[in-house]
Symmetry: C2
């Protein structure tokens, strides 16, 4: 594994109106632009959605990393995430992010899976980079 | 325009290994998973890349919003963004994000465009939601 620090690069090229092509090495390009309430379109990935998605995806990848270390067999993982944007004394910003993961494991692993979700929350590097508080409301289903 | 607060929702469904489908209303689905240095693949959008992309895209959409308000004609906009992930006393997190926008405007608008980039930086709601310091190194090209 490469040594820290790690660097992550992305690239934007404006197309027209408010939309741009977002690219990063090896990944499919995305159209990005403002969401409808800021004059954009629902079909573009907005900065706001990318922000919420980064937090949501980081909890998942961190959970799979701690599960692998702990030899927990994960049978299913889905989540819903919601970010709340509001006016504050410091201006418009994300005042809350709530993640709702639903994790499926064998019945005897349910308690451990709950603990590992808490551990993943603690180690999630995107959450650690935010001022916005991140709440995790996890459901563990024991099959 | 809808009243604040605004809400942004995303959804993840695990597929296999470490990858998942990321979705949000009206937008194309994305495959997400860890980057190569955390055991994933370069072809997936990683949480780390989504994080950097959110900051980069927010500066652009905010710049276009302030430019429209100020009746500045923007002839071109591209940017490169880099996020640095490093170990700190609080654990692994993004210690810096650097955005390098290149803005093209008419020669007589160059100075104003530079001021509007600064204004956009100040009003960027994703940057305002981060602990990570965001540096903007802008180039303005007067055509």
């Amino acid at each position: 594994m490469a040594e820290l620090p790690y660097r992550y690069e992305t690239c934007l090229k404006w197309k027209d109106e408010a939309q741009a092509g977002l690219s990063a090495q090896g990944k499919p390009d995305l159209l990005v632009g403002p969401p409808p309430e800021f004059g954009g379109q629902d079909s573009w990935w907005s900065p706001e959605h990318l922000f919420v998605a980064a937090v949501e995806a980081c909890l998942m990848t961190t959970f799979f990393a701690v599960a692998r270390k702990s030899k927990l067999a994960v049978l299913g993982y889905e989540s819903r995430a919601e970010g709340t944007l509001d006016k504050t004394a410091e201006g418009l910003l994300f005042t809350a992010v709530t993640l709702r993961p639903v994790v499926k494991v064998a019945a005897q692993d349910a308690e451990r899976a709950g603990r590992l979700i808490e551990l993943a929350k603690k180690h999630c590097l995107v959450s650690a980079s935010l001022k916005t508080p991140v709440a995790v409301e996890a459901s563990v289903l024991g099959a």
